[in-house]
Every structure is written in C-alpha cells, then in structure tokens.
C-alpha cells in the first residue's frame, strides 16, 4: 500500500486550462497517473487532449466527480480564487484536495480551514509540491503524481517522505533513489502558515501503512508543527525516522521565501527543533546532503 493516493486514484485538475495546471496535467498523464477530469468554470464540455489522452472538462467539481468518479483534486487556480476552489472540493465530498497554489491570503485559508472542520475532505497544502506515490514501471512510471514534483526521480519502495518544501523533498527523494531505496509515498505539506495537513498527520498515516518501513521528516524554521510530530514519534511511532530542519542560518524575523518560514521566537529556530528531534530519538541529518544516509544509520533495509 501507500498513503493518501495510489496507482488507481482518479484525479481531477482544477485550473487544467491554465498554463500552470495544463503543463502539470500533461506531465502527470505522461507519468501514467489517472487524470480523469478537468474543471474550469465556463469551459464545461471542452476536452483537454494530450498524447492520445482525452480528458473531459467540467464546469463544477461536483459534475466532474459525478461523471468520472474522481476522488482527488489537484488545485492550480490563481491565489485570489484558490480558497473557493478548495471549498468546492469540500462541497463535492472529495477524499482529498491538494492545493499547489502559492500566495493564498492567510485570511482566506483561516476561513477555509474552519469551514472544512468535520467534513470528509482532507486538504494537502497550499503552497506545496503535491503528493507522489511512485509507480512500479521504468523511472517509477505508472504512479500517482499530483502536483509539480518531477516523477522520474522516484522509485517505488519503503520510505515515506514528508516535507514542507518542494525542492528539498526532491533532494531527499533523489538521494534515496540514487542509493537504491524507493519511496512508498512522498508528501509535500506546503510552506504556508495555515495548511490542511500537518507533519504529524502524515507521520500517523505512515506509521499505519504496512508498506512504509522508515520515514524522512523534513522541516524548517517557524511554527511548532515539527515539534508536535517529534513528540508524537517518541511516544507512538514504530518505525525509524530521520529528520532535517532547514534554516539554521536564517535571521530572526525575516520571511525566508515560504510565508511560514519565519522565526517568531526562541522555540521555532532550527537549533531548538533539532534539539527536540534528538530528544525524540529522530536521527538528525547534519546537512541536507546527509538525509538518506541519516535514515540508513537507523534503518537497515
């Protein structure tokens, strides 16, 4: 198994007729992902064509779900409209909404997250690279790629990867793949201060997933999500975990690219988080080049 998504997951793309959404819909189709619908209000009835694939476009998420059985949405719509797109997935009772969009106002996300309480739909992101469950074909072809990650760097295997950052996730995945170790699922939870799924949520899923044997947890400065995850790992996690925290050299009070990556107090510095990782028996990577090796120090596949 994997977590969140698998080879047969049926995916719809909100914003498939835009440049950004269209480009990544094509890459997902090339990867072998089941992209079964697009949603662009006012363009219902059109077809998104790519390499022989004909993906029908619908006006609403509810229509797309009803007619194609799509369970998961990849959201590529521009920031002013993205929270609305998320809530449309909630209304349509999708399993999962994965919001790639960067730059959504915090107030919109605060309201959307409140409106999602008690509802069926899980949100990943926003401002995230998405989710990849690698396939079993050549260069992991045939997997489920939702978002903007490069598919070919993956390999199907036993390591779960969770991170706020895109390129840092690719770095960890590539280190693993280069050393011959594959991934069960790779989850980018996003760099915003308000997001749908936390490090801890993903760690819990990996802990319950029979295919996942070991976990890489990548965090950064700002907030306390990594600390919550680390404390839970110490008490409950049955699997070896390696961790890395980016931002040891970041000056306090400055936003480092990600909206959420800002040091607010003494507890959300890289040093503080690393110390807590160590207290919680997480093997800390000394540098970003050491992430796969750190895991292999505590996990003997």
């Amino acid at each position: 198994m994997s977590i969140l998504v698998h080879e047969k997951t049926r995916v719809l793309v909100q914003g498939i007729t835009g440049d950004f959404g269209g480009r990544h819909a094509r890459l997902s189709l090339d990867y072998g992902t089941q992209v079964v619908a697009g949603v662009t209000p006012g363009k219902g009835g059109q077809v998104f064509e790519h390499n022989g694939h004909k993906v029908p476009i619908f006006d609403t998420v509810a229509d797309a779900r009803r007619q194609t059985g799509a369970e998961v949405s990849a959201i590529f719509v521009p920031p002013p409209f993205a929270a609305d797109a998320i809530l449309e997935c909630v209304d349509a009772d999708l399993d999962l909404a994965i919001a790639i969009t960067e730059g959504i106002p915090v107030r919109d996300m605060v309201r959307a997250k409140r409106a999602m309480e008690g509802r069926r739909t899980r949100l990943i992101g926003p401002n995230c690279p998405g989710v990849v469950t690698p396939g079993r074909g050549d260069k992991s072809h045939g997997g489920c790629r939702i978002g903007i990650a490069p598919g070919y760097i993956h390999r199907r295997g036993k390591v779960g990867v969770v991170s706020r950052s895109g390129t840092l996730t690719y770095e960890a995945v590539w280190q693993l793949t280069s050393k011959g170790h594959g991934q069960s699922t790779c989850v980018g939870i996003g760099g915003d201060p308000v997001n749908g799924t936390s490090h801890l949520d993903v760690i819990r899923l990996f802990n319950e997933d029979p295919e996942t044997e070991a976990i890489i947890l990548i965090g950064e400065i700002g907030g306390s999500a990594e600390v919550e995850a680390a404390r839970w790992i110490k008490e409950h996690c049955k699997k070896p975990v390696a961790g890395f925290i980016a931002g040891a050299t970041a000056p306090a009070g400055r936003r480092m690219g990600h909206a959420g990556a800002v040091i607010g107090g003494a507890d959300d510095t890289a040093a503080a988080k690393i110390r807590i990782f160590q207290e919680c028996s997480i093997e800390v990577a000394k540098t970003p080049s050491d992430m796969a090796d750190a895991l292999l120090r505590v996990w003997k596949p």
Binding site: R107, V110, R114, E171, A248, A250, R255, H258, S289
Partner: protein, 403 residues
C-alpha cells in the same frame, strides 16, 4: 509588509481606536508647523519612524541616546528632531549598521496614569494568527511597555489569550473576557471592550499579519490610549488593499530585495561572503546552512523559483554581484521538471553578461543533467562543478578561503 507607526495610528484612528494626537514630518522645514498643530501642555514626544523595534532604547551614531524622546517644551522638541532626522539609529533589531531616520512623528505627550502600587498604568494588546490552531488570537497582558516575550517567560500567568472562531468573528463576550483579564472596571471596562472589538475589525478587514499595541495606557484623565502601535500585513492579501500598498516605504527596504522582487526572485541579504543562487525556498535555506556547516558564511538567501529562466538567473547574478562583500558564488539547482541544459545555458549567458570573475561553483541535478554539465564544461568559463550539495559547498568554501 510593514508600515510606520504614524501610518498605523492613522489607520487605527479610522477604525475608532484612540491614539495621541500627532503629526509626521519628513523634512526639517515641516517641524514648526507640525508642532504648532499640537497641544504641548503635557510636553511632546519626538519619535523616529523606522521599520524596526527597540527605538526608545536605541542610540544614534551621532551620539544622541534614544530614538523616542520626551520633550518638555517646543524648543526641546525641535532640538531633538533636528538631531534625529537624517541620522542613523541603531537598535536591538536594526543590526549594527542601523537605519537612517527619514521621518519623524511628533505627538502630544500623554498624562500617564498610575496604578495603586505606583507603577505606570500600561498594558499590552495584540492580535495575530495562532499557527497551532489556524485561528486569530487576541493576546492581552497587564504588563505593558516591556517586551511581551519577557512577560511570557517570567510571568506567563499575566498573559491572557482569547481565540477567535473565524466562522463568526470576535464575539462580545470575548471582548469582555479580554477587558476583564486586564482588570478594567466601569468606564475603562466599557472603553476596553470597544477597543478590542474595533481592533479585531481592523485586523480582519485589512488582512493584518499582526496588530500590536504596546503600551496601551490609561491616562490620568481616565482614557485608554494606544501609545505605540505596530502593524504588519499579509503580503499575499495586498492585491485587495491598494490603500495599504500605497503606504509601502521603499526607503525602509533593501534596494537589492526590491530589485529581486521585480524578477520574481526572493532575496534576503546576510552578512557573509559566499553568495548562493538556488531554486526553491527550502533548498535555498539549506544551501545557506550547508555553507555554514563547512565553515563558510552565506551572503544571502536567493530563491529563483521553480523555473530558473535565463532572465531570472541573469538578474540574480547582477543582484548578487551588487553586494561588495561577495567573494564567491554557489549555484545549486535541482532541475526537476526544467531541463538542466537550459538552466546551464542560462548560467553561462548570465556569467558572460555580468563579466563574472569571482569563483563559481555549480551544482546541477535533475532532468537532462549530463547535457547541462557538458554545456558548463564547454563554456570556457572558470567554474567548478559540484556533484552533491556537500561537495559543492566544500568546494566554494575552499575557493573563497583561498581567495
């Protein structure tokens, strides 16, 4: 986005929050007129306007102590103002280089009330996002006029927090909870409830990242007044607030950061000598970290985004080379989707266009990386290829160390 105190107070006043009367001035010729409009019976405050805290305890490079000065008379206020404007104020938050004061704010001094124990009657009030719950939180304390971090550390029981449900907004009972926590009674209680309500309305409607009033004080006349105000806004929401964007003071920002933002680059200057150019915020931060890990000092954070086009890379090189401290450059690109060869061509063109002569280490990984490395090797540029982040970081540290 940050704004000045005088701008924050003008906005708060529009929402009905009481602030001391004041006038801002950006030129010495405006001082007399500014003071003429104020009632100086209790004296004046002359306040340096910079986007950094700790102004009161800061000092000027010309020797003047304090970036916020009480001035008993009009003449004293003018003297203080002339010593402040155009000079450099160093505070705990500006760094040793300080910040040039380009605007002053003259206000009427308030008649500060006293508590029964003789202490100044000062409070703390703020609204910000509680990241743990993804909800706004009102933070209030009976201990005003000091750093809230210190209060949180020494006497956490003196801080009250009230979380707001964004579905319904701040409720009247919650405003009362805050007013009770601050110990107000009678007329002051009524004022405090109104203040908290208005402050929340401002925070929510204007997409604030944070609103902080410290100190909030009670005057001898029994009025609640926001003596200082710090307001910052969510950058992602600025598109719907042109009135707030108009308050942006570019003089308070690093010109290199402004230039970078024009090209969609995210740049933050640091004080080291090894510049880095990276795609992705997380990778950019960890590139700085790994430079330090191997004994070097990063000169900047620079995220060129996922695409890393030739135009962006060229702009990034120009910005990096604008920093005279830079002695070497580390390029770290994980070209996941992007063709590494196109990125390599961009790096070569940018290096040529900028006449780059500093040591350059390039670590390229990802799609079509072999062709990219070949392009770099065939360029004739004096650059060193790094195989991994660790390898590249060690190479640039060695080169800059030798230089």
């Amino acid at each position: 986005m940050n704004i000045h105190e005088y701008q924050a107070k003008a906005l708060l006043e529009q929402f009905g929050v009481a602030v001391p009367r004041g006038v801002a001035a950006k030129d010495a010729s405006e001082f007399e007129a500014a003071l003429a409009g104020l009632d100086g019976s209790a004296g004046y405050m002359v306040k340096s306007q910079i986007h950094a805290g700790g102004r009161g305890k800061g000092s000027f490079t010309n020797g003047l102590k304090g970036g916020v000065k009480f001035s008993a008379t009009r003449e004293k206020a003018l003297e203080n103002a002339r010593a402040m404007l155009g000079n450099t104020l160093v505070t705990a938050q500006t760094g040793p280089e300080g910040r040039k004061v380009q605007a002053l704010y003259f206000t009427e001094a308030a008649n500060l009330g006293k508590r029964p124990d003789g202490r100044d009657d000062e409070y703390y009030l703020a609204i910000l996002l509680d990241r743990a719950t993804s909800r706004p939180v009102v933070v209030a304390s009976t201990e005003g006029g000091v750093e809230i971090e210190k209060v949180a550390h020494d006497t956490p029981e003196r801080i009250a927090k009230v979380q707001v449900d964004p579905a319904v907004g701040l409720q009247p009972y919650q405003a009362r909870q805050v007013a009770f926590a601050l110990g107000f009674k009678g007329e002051l209680f009524r004022q405090a409830v109104a203040l908290v309500t208005k402050l929340y309305q401002f925070y929510w409607e204007k997409d604030c990242a944070m609103v902080e009033i410290n100190p909030l004080l009670v005057t001898k006349e029994g009025r609640l007044v926001a003596l200082d105000a710090k307001v910052s806004f969510d950058d992602n929401a600025l598109f719907r607030h042109p009135d707030i964007v108009a308050l942006r003071d570019l003089a308070e920002e690093d010109p290199k950061e402004i230039e970078a933002s024009k090209f969609g680059l995210s740049y933050i200057a640091l004080d080291g000598n090894i510049a880095c150019l990276v795609n992705g915020a997380g990778l950019a931060m960890s590139t700085m970290d790994i430079i330090q890990h191997f004994g070097g000092r990063p000169a900047n954070f620079l995220d060129v985004g996922g695409g890393a086009s030739k135009e962006q890379v060229t702009a990034a090189f120009k910005i990096i080379l604008g920093d005279p401290n830079v002695k070497g450059i580390l390029v770290n690109i994980f070209g996941g989707i992007m063709d590494c060869d196109i990125i390599a061509q961009g790096i070569v063109a940018a290096a040529r266009e900028t006449g780059l002569s500093l040591p350059l280490v390039v670590r390229l990984e990802g799609n079509n990386v072999a062709a990219g490395k070949a392009t770099l090797a065939a360029s004739g540029l004096k650059l060193v290829a790094g195989d991994s982040m660790a390898d590249a970081a060690q190479k640039i540290v060695a080169l800059v160390g030798k230089a």
